[in-house]
Structure formats: C-alpha cells, structure tokens
C-alpha cells in the first residue's frame, strides 16, 4: 500500500558548524528535507557535504547547531540510536563488510533493527508474509526472503551469496544502498551513490529513489551527476566552503549565478 507523500520536515539542520583546525568545514548551515521528496545536496570538492552527513549520522560531533529527525532533537544521540529512529546512510568511500556476502551485508542491517517484538517480525510470524517491497520507510527487510526481495529491488537479484569484495564498484555501491534500506529508514542519506554506476544502473537508481520518495521516504542525495539530480530532485541545496549559498528547484539552481561561480571557480 503506497503511502501518500507526506509533506512534513523529516530532517532539519539548524545552524550546524564544524571546524577542523583552521578549516571551517561547515559554517552555520541551516536547511530541511521534506518527507516524500528527493532533495539534492551539491557543492565543489571539499565543500563539506560528507562532513554534513557525518554530523547527521552522528559520526561527527558538531561544534554547534542542532539536528532534528521528524521534529525530534537527535543532536546528542549515538549513531546506532539515530539509525533505530529511522536514519540511514551510505558512504562516499565504500564502507562495506568486505568479508561477507552481499546478502549477509544486508542482513546485518536488517537484523540490527528487526527484533522479535518488531511489527514486521510479528507480521511474518502471523503468516502475513514479507512486505512485497521491503526497504521502504518503516518496512525493514526481514529474513532471507526479505533480503532477497530487497536485493532484487536495487537491481542485484540473485547476488545473495556473492562475496562483496569481488563486486565491481557500482554493484558494491548498490549493496550499500540495500544495506541502508534494510532498516526501513524514514530518512536516507546517500553520498554519491551514482559514482561508479553505468548508465543503466544509474537509471535504475533514479527510478528507485523516486519510488522510495513516493512511499514517503525523505532522501538527501549528494551527487555530481547533474542529469540524475535534475531528474529526481524536487529541491537542491548548494554548499560552498561550508556555507549554504543557494537552495531551490533544479531549474532555479541551474540558473543561479552564485552556483555557477562556485562551480566554475573551483573546477577550473
């Protein structure tokens, strides 16, 4: 049963700052991500995108500022607590469990949230089966069937027992995506999921993101592939030297002179 896109602030960032020695990696950044949408986050290399993801997922303590998940303050929560509250992420530099298979990677995610008292576990025990589309918000993958279905969904059907250290980068990225989805997140942070993907994989990814947003998930997407961004995002924010310099629809961002300057200034 597809949920209606819910237009609430799924994730809010308020005046977050981080510095490393003399480098201001994030400088009082404030913005929000709506439930049921895909939001883009772009910026030149070193702009602070990954640092922001680390703050959001709890791997980096901000110097100041707050993070809210569905209106609830999570600034002081540990990474695993944030995940249990429905926040999932992937990593720019792949952070897989390299000595496990693709399916096992996904299972570690699924099993971290699916406990015996979990609704989806009870549903399955009562014979209502696995959700047809595991990985959507609030529908973690459950058991081998759920994991297989989720792998199928990200385009890795049948690779359940494939060791991940032998996979090409593109597919390894998709395993990470599946692992993140396995917890049934409300908010999904993706750090350059498209790099290393070929055109057809990239198209599948775009469709999947739109589909997940349609189920009510809030997706925050860091990506350099402009075509992908234009196709799936309803909002795009732009970071430069740790500061949020623009925000708006893809068309607005494309036309924004400040954004062009930031990109041209650093790319050339």
């Amino acid at each position: 049963m597809p949920l209606d896109p819910i237009t609430h602030m799924a994730l809010e960032v308020r005046e977050v700052s981080v510095h490393f020695g003399g480098v201001r990696a994030l400088d009082s950044v404030t913005f929000g991500v709506m439930g049921g949408t895909v939001t883009g986050l772009i910026g030149p290399n070193g702009a602070g995108k990954t640092t922001l993801f680390n703050v959001l997922s709890g791997l980096q303590t901000p110097d100041q500022g707050r993070v809210l998940l569905a209106g609830r303050e999570i600034t002081r929560k540990k990474p695993h607590q944030r995940a249990q509250l429905g926040l999932a992420r992937t990593f720019q530099r792949l952070e897989l469990f390299w000595s496990l298979s693709a399916g096992e990677n996904v299972r570690v995610g699924a099993e971290a949230v699916v406990q015996w008292w979990h609704p989806s576990h009870i549903r399955q025990t009562l014979g209502r089966g696995t959700p047809v589309r595991p990985g959507g918000p609030g529908t973690p993958a459950h058991g081998s069937a759920g994991v297989a279905a989720l792998l199928e969904r990200v385009g890795l059907g049948g690779l359940d027992w494939e060791p991940v250290d032998g996979l090409p980068t593109g597919q390894a990225r998709l395993v990470e995506l599946a692992r993140a989805l396995a917890i049934g997140p409300q908010v999904l942070l993706l750090d350059e999921p498209g790099s290393g993907l070929d055109d057809s994989e990239s198209a599948v990814l775009g469709d999947l993101l739109v589909e997940l947003a349609g189920e009510g998930m809030a997706v925050l997407l860091v990506e350099h592939d402009m075509d992908l961004l234009m196709r799936v995002c309803s909002q795009i924010f732009v970071l430069d030297y740790g500061q949020l310099i623009a925000g708006g629809t893809p068309e607005e961002i494309r036309a924004n002179p400040a954004v062009q300057a930031a990109y041209l200034g650093s790319a050339q």
Binding site: S57, L59, H80, A83, R93, L100, V108, A112, V113
Partner: protein, 641 residues
C-alpha cells in the same frame, strides 16, 4: 626533605632511561605505523651482549659500545625493516602479531645463548663507584650519566627531526604520506631510519638501565622495564615526543616516590598487596595512561586489506567434525604413551582457549593478549567453589571469567587495535604480578604453592582416569567448537564480522557497537574460563606460573599461524602450543616467532589458505564433477583436516 631530594634524583635518573626507550618507540611508530612490542627485548639483548663483551670477554667499554650501539643495533633495525616491508598497508593487527613474534624470537635467542632467567653482571660503563654530593644529595656517576645521555638524545632528536632533510621527511610521513612522495623522499628509506633510531635507542636504554637496577640484569626486569616506556609513549599518544619525554620523567618519579613511600610507611600494604612494587607500578601506570586516552571516534575506514572468510561449516558438518575430534581423542588415549597423552590433554584445553580467540580475534577482530589470564580466573573460581572440582565450580568459572572479561572490555570499548592490545597486555601483566602471586587472605590465589582442583564426575562416571579425562576434554572442545560455529552462522556472528570490517557502518545501521563488544568479550572470556577450570581438573592443581602472559601470547600466535578464523585451526593451534610448551624448551619461542614471521602475511593462516587451495587442486584434476555452490570454500569440514 633531604630524603625527598634523594628520591627525586633517583626518580629522574630512572625516568630519563624510560624517556630514551619511549622516544625510540615513538620515532618508530610515527614513521612506520608499527608499535614495536619487541622494544624491551631489543634492550635486553643489547644489554646482555654489552655485558658479554665487557664482563665475560674483557673488551674495553668504548669498543663494546661501538659494537652494540653502532653495529649490532643498526643491523637489527635494518633486518626488522626488511621483515616489515612486506606488511606495508596491512592491518594494525597483522603488524602487531609480527612484532610479538619478534619478541618471542629475541627472548628465545637470549634464553638459548645466555641461559634461562639467570641474571648477569652489567658491564661497567665507568670505573669506580665515585659519587658526588650536591646539597647533601648523593649523585652517583650512573645517575649523572643517564641524565646526560637522555638530555643528549632529546637534543639530538630535536635537531635531527627539525633541521635535517631526512628528519623533516620523517615528521611529514605522519601528517601526509603523499606530501612526502612529492618531496621526493623514499618511504622505504624513511621507514628504515625509523627502525634504526628506534632499535638504537632501545639498545642505549638497555645498557643504561642495568647499573640502575642494582647491578644485575635479568631477562624479566629488562623486558618489563619497557612497560614504563609504553606508558610514557601512550601519554604522548605515540606521536608527541616532548609529551612522551615529560611523561617518562613523571613515570620515573612516580615509581620511585610511591615505591619507596609504600616500602617505608606501609610495609603491610606492600606485603599484602604488591608483592613487588617495581613490577606492579609500571603496569598500573600503563593502565592509567590507556584509561585516560580520549574516546576513539567511530570513523569510516574505507576499504582495508581484507580477506574473504571461507564459508562456515554447517551444523551437520560441525557435528561430524566434533565427533571426529572425540574419536581421535579416544584413539590417542589408546595409541600414545602417557607422556604424549598428557600433551594431547593439555592441547585440547589450549584448543578451547584458541576457540575463544577465534570468536574474539578471528571473527570480531578484537586482539586479546590476556586470554589465558581469563582461564586463570576460571581456574580460581573452580578451585574456590565447593572445595575444587565440582560442576558448580565449572559454572562459577565460566560466570566469573565472563564477568571479568566484560569488566576488561568495558573501558576498552572506546579503544581499538593497538591500544586494545596494549590494554589486554597490561591486564595480563597485572594479573601475573599481582593476582596469581597474591598471598593476601582475600584473594589468596594459591594457599602455599598451588590451588587444588579435583577431577569431575558425571552421573556416576568418574573422570579420575586419564583416558576418561581425555574424552571429557575432547567432548568439551567439540561442544565449544559447535557453539562457536553456530554463533558464527547466526545473527551474532554476522555482527561480529561486521564489527571487525567496519564499526562505523555497524553503528549507522543501528547496531550498538559497545554492547556487541561487551557481549563478545563476555562469551569469549567465559569460554577461556571453562578451559581454565578444565586445566585445573586435568593437572590436579594450578599455580602462579600456569596462566602467564607468555602462554596467552603462545596460543594467540599459534592460532594466527594456523588460521584465526577457523575452528580446526584452533584445535591444531592448541595441540601445537602444548607440544611446544612441553617439548620445545628454549627453542619454542624461536620456532613460534619464526612461524609468525613466515606465515604472518597469510591472513587466513595455514588452514584457511591451504584448505581452499587443496579443493581447488582437486577440482582441477576432476573437471567432470563441478561441486555444488554451497560446497565451495567449506572449511572446518572435519576437524581432523
């Protein structure tokens, strides 16, 4: 006041030696990324060869100094670098095993050349026992000399690292290896320099500490003194030389003040609680240094050099394997002589300890150097509950060691890799110096010399006889290995491997990393405790020397050689450990150390690497029958393999 000043002088002198040793550790670590666990052994070997030349062969002091510091130490440094080069980019755990192997080789070599624990006269660095009196405080030549050398080392390092090209490049390695390559410096040459300086400073420290140790050298004191240097280096976070220097002086002063204060004013405390303050205090300092380390942030680590874990045996396969172990034990109890039967029994017990390490180190990637200490705690519970030798005692053994294991893990969940290894080393050393030898009424480990433990019985069957005991031990090993494999196949096992591969990723999918670490430490220590209890029943008693740090090291390294992620590796490792301890004599350390150096680069050990290769070979010969996909890479198919 006068007394205080006198202690201050002595404390500074001792601290100065620690400073020399610790700065060697820091230089090596910061240029090569390798923490040298063999640092103390290098100091010991150098001091012994110095004494050999001057005292035994009457060489002039200056010549001996030139030979030891100018020739022997640099050659050793270059050799070590050659060994380590192969491990470039390997995990912390792997390089750690190799320096531990080196430690065993040097200890074994010293045993072989200079014989056992016998202490020797240090070489005379200076003639006569002149001492000066400044403001009524005695200043011996030895004290003065040590202080001058330490100051010289500080000045040299400061100049070398700040002013010379090589030195500047060495500092740059820490901050940015790419920058270094850009500056045109060769990383291999820098690493070689790092090792040479480290080894030379260890040698200098070894020669200097001897006269301060009251005029005799023994292997243990020399190897142990470096624990103080570890503490100082950890205070400096293994990177900061000035902080390390100051910390070393602080440690030297602290040791002298506290040790002398306790001996003078609290003799009762010393007698009851610290059998030898000079051996216990360093370890306490190291523990403190590690405990005040700041929280280690969960970090994305990217892709380390990892290896595929061979497919895990199914329940059926592990049952068959377990049955095979019991059958073989039965066979051994018929076919072998009494002597070898004893070795096999001990091997099965060490095998259970190794299994506990498969779980902790093999799967979860947590290095523990105190696994046999946990076993000792188990034996303690076994001996103290209902007079020693009951199933209640076994239960208590498992429970108590699991508790102690979690207690050890509690502060270390913040630490990882190297610091975790250092912490468990400190725990093991502390237990050796304090718990196992304790005669205080509260913890009295062994009333006079040993703690008696009787053989068990079950449903009227007594395990009094050695054959029955052998079967009991084999069954215990089989059950433990079935348990370990079952854990690995399940939710918990996947989590452990995940924890080992990427703690950050584990946390971001909602796994409580700290709780998982506590759990695995608890289960693993509990298993080791079971082994300790069985050790007691087998031997009939346990004593102060049964659970020493070196035995932990033996079992761990042997497991690494055979395959840290394999239960059959655990069995073979246990048996080999027992054989070495019983039959190896002085050579056992050398054999084991060389084994680690040779096998160290095979991440899955002999069995984990050899078994799949063997299957590969067999498959090539018979191309007609392609194996079923599930059967691929099955390890542990039979423990007999």
């Amino acid at each position: 006041m006068h007394e205080f000043l006198q202690f201050t002088v002595i404390g500074i002198a001792i601290g100065a030696v620690y400073a020399v040793a610790a700065s060697g550790l820091v230089v090596t670590y910061s240029t090569t990324g390798v923490f040298n666990f063999a640092h103390g052994a290098v100091a010991m070997v150098s001091a012994f060869s110095f004494s050999e030349m001057t005292v035994t062969h009457g060489l002039p002091v200056w010549l001996a100094l030139v030979v030891v510091i100018g020739v022997e130490a640099p050659i050793l440094g270059v050799l070590v670098q050659l060994l380590m080069r192969r491990l470039f980019g390997a995990s912390v755990e792997r390089s750690l095993m190799v320096t531990l192997g080196l430690l065993l080789i040097l200890l074994g070599a010293a045993d072989e050349i200079w014989g056992g624990q016998s202490s020797r006269q240090p070489g005379q660095l200076y003639s006569g026992a002149t001492s000066y009196s400044v403001l009524g405080v005695h200043l011996t030549v030895a004290n003065l000399l040590v202080m001058i050398v330490a100051a010289g080392v500080a000045i040299f390092l400061g100049f070398f690292l700040k002013r010379t090209r090589t030195g500047v490049a060495m500092r740059a390695v820490v901050d940015d290896p790419d920058l270094l390559a850009m500056a045109g410096a060769s990383p291999a040459r820098i690493a070689t320099m790092g090792w040479i300086i480290g080894v030379v400073l260890a040698a200098v420290a070894g020669i200097l500490i001897a006269p301060l140790q009251g005029g005799n050298l023994s292997q243990t004191t020399l190897t142990l003194f470096v624990v103080n240097a570890y503490a100082a280096a950890v205070f400096g976070r293994l990177r900061n030389l000035p902080v390390t220097f100051v910390a070393a002086l602080g440690v030297g002063l602290g040791e002298t003040y506290i040790g002398n204060y306790l001996q003078q004013y609290e003799p009762g405390f010393t007698q009851n609680w610290l059998s030898v303050p000079s051996q216990t205090l360093p370890i306490v300092f190291l523990l403190i240094a590690l405990l005040i380390l700041p929280q280690d942030r969960l970090r994305a680590v990217g892709r380390a050099v990892t290896t595929r874990i061979p497919k895990v045996a199914s329940l059926g396969q592990s049952l068959v394997g377990g049955a095979a172990v019991v059958a073989l034990a039965l066979l051994a109890s018929v076919a072998l002589g009494t002597d070898w039967q004893g070795i096999v029994r001990q091997g099965l017990i060490f095998g259970i300890v190794a299994l506990s390490l498969v779980l902790l180190t093999g799967y979860a990637g947590q290095v523990s150097l105190c696994q046999v200490t946990f076993a000792g705690v188990g034996a303690f519970a076994m001996g103290k509950v209902t007079g020693g030798g009951s199933w209640l005692g076994v239960l208590a053994a498992v429970g108590l060691s699991a508790g102690v294991g979690m207690l050890v893990a509690w502060p270390t969940t913040r630490l990882r890799g190297l610091y975790l290894a250092l912490f468990t080393l400190a725990v093991a050393a502390f237990a050796d110096a304090w718990f196992f030898t304790n005669t205080n009424y509260l913890f009295d480990y062994n009333h006079s010399s040993s703690l008696l433990i009787k053989r068990l019985g079950l449903f009227g069957i007594s395990f009094e006889g050695n054959r029955a005991e052998m079967i009991l031990l084999a069954v215990a090993f089989a059950l433990a290995s079935i348990l370990v494999l079952a854990l690995r196949r399940g939710v918990f096992g996947r989590r452990l491997v995940g924890l080992s591969d990427s703690p950050a990723a584990c946390a971001t999918v909602g796994l409580n990393v700290k709780a998982t670490k506590l759990a695995v430490f608890g289960i693993s220590a509990g298993l080791a405790g079971l082994a300790g209890a069985l050790y007691g029943t087998n031997q009939g008693f346990v004593g102060a020397l049964d659970f020493q740090f070196l035995i932990s090291l033996n079992v761990l390294l042997m497991l690494v050689i055979w395959g840290a992620r394999s239960t059959s590796g655990a069995l073979v490792a246990g048996l080999c450990s027992a054989v070495l301890l019983q039959k190896g004599g002085n050579l056992s350390g050398i054999i084991l150390g060389v084994g680690v150096l040779v096998i160290g680069w095979l991440p899955n050990g002999i069995i984990g690497t050899g078994w799949p290769m063997l299957r590969e070979l067999v498959r090539d010969r018979s191309p007609g029958e392609a194996p079923a996909p599930e059967a691929e890479l099955v390890e542990d198919a039979g423990h007999a393999a």
